[in-house]
Symmetry: C2
Subunit: 196 residues, 2 copies
């Protein structure tokens, strides 16, 4: 049975609409990542190459756009954790990049929300649930120390993502912290400062 012509048109329209939405999100993502830019809806429409009407049909305002960006990134993080062959350490690096870029989006979001809790609270639980099996596997394989929970590991990565400095400056700090996740009991004594 062949598809009737009006249904083809409708499918094509839906594909078009989805392409526009993706173009808008990609343009918004790059605009927000660009530190010098004042990110207005007009700027996003220009970058995406779609009209203002199309932009507003997809996202009634900046806040909806920011939330969509944020949710898309949280989805990507969760999918990355669940992908076959995912490892804790490569996932933590993705998360680090997310935190570092999220800083900007999260700050923008908070300007437009009375409370960011509903957006952030739910994401944290989702991300933690997605990463838990990776930590368990890494700990079972004795690749990662077993005296930290995933919450602690995420707090560490998040804290490092707040450090200001160029990429290579912060990257070296991140690498040291990731090295610190190695088990400390496999033959080498733990470095200890005297506990004050």
């Amino acid at each position: 049975m062949s598809t009737p012509p009006d249904q083809i048109t409708s499918l094509a329209r839906r594909a078009d609409a989805e392409r526009n939405r993706d173009k808008i999100l990609a343009a918004a993502r790059s605009a927000f990542a660009d530190p010098g830019t004042e990110v207005s809806m007009a700027e996003i429409s220009r970058r995406a190459g779609v009209g203002m009407a199309t932009l507003y049909r997809n996202f009634p305002g900046r806040r909806e756009l920011l939330e969509a960006l944020y949710t898309d990134e949280v989805n990507a993080i969760c999918e990355a954790a669940e992908a076959p062959g995912a490892s804790l350490l490569s996932w933590l690096r993705q998360l680090f990049a997310f935190f570092a870029s999220k800083r900007h989006i999260a700050a923008e979001l908070l300007k437009h929300t009375d409370s960011g809790d509903s957006v952030f609270g739910g994401s944290r639980a989702r991300v933690t649930a997605a990463g838990q099996p990776l930590l368990a596997a890494a700990q079972q394989a004795r690749e990662v120390r077993d005296d930290l929970t995933l919450e602690q590991v995420l707090d560490l990565i998040h804290a490092i993502a707040t450090i200001r400095g160029d990429t290579s400056y912060v990257e070296a700090i991140l690498q040291a912290a990731l090295d610190g996740l190695r088990p400390s009991t496999d033959g080498k004594p733990t470095l200890e400062g005297s506990n004050p």
Copy 2:
């Protein structure tokens, strides 16, 4: 030659004044460390057991008191780094405790200053200068990796001090980070996530 009586009185007065100043600073330090307390000048006078006149003679206002607390702590940190037998790791733990407590004092200070830069900028340079020989010695003894500068190490410790949680929660994260300062090239391969 014996000291004349009026000079004895003057020395005794000076010792008294110094004791009062120390009592005030100790009381203020513990009041600010107490998260539930509204720290007024009256509260500090009560805790120190000195009258309001004595308090204000020593510190014309909250801001002067906070700055004195801050400077005292920076001095202690610098002296600790310069003490004989000081080691990088035990010093970093002291610094961590300082950062964790400083958060409160620094936040209070910023409320009362147009710009905290003059207070903070100078301290950072002093602390860095004091810690530099400790890092150099630890790197030369191959106890600490040589791909980080002291600024990077301090940023790492500072970032961890901003993590919220009870002492044992954050302590475990700090220990992992300090373990990560070990040289990564001494026989054990560096853990690497795939660089995105």
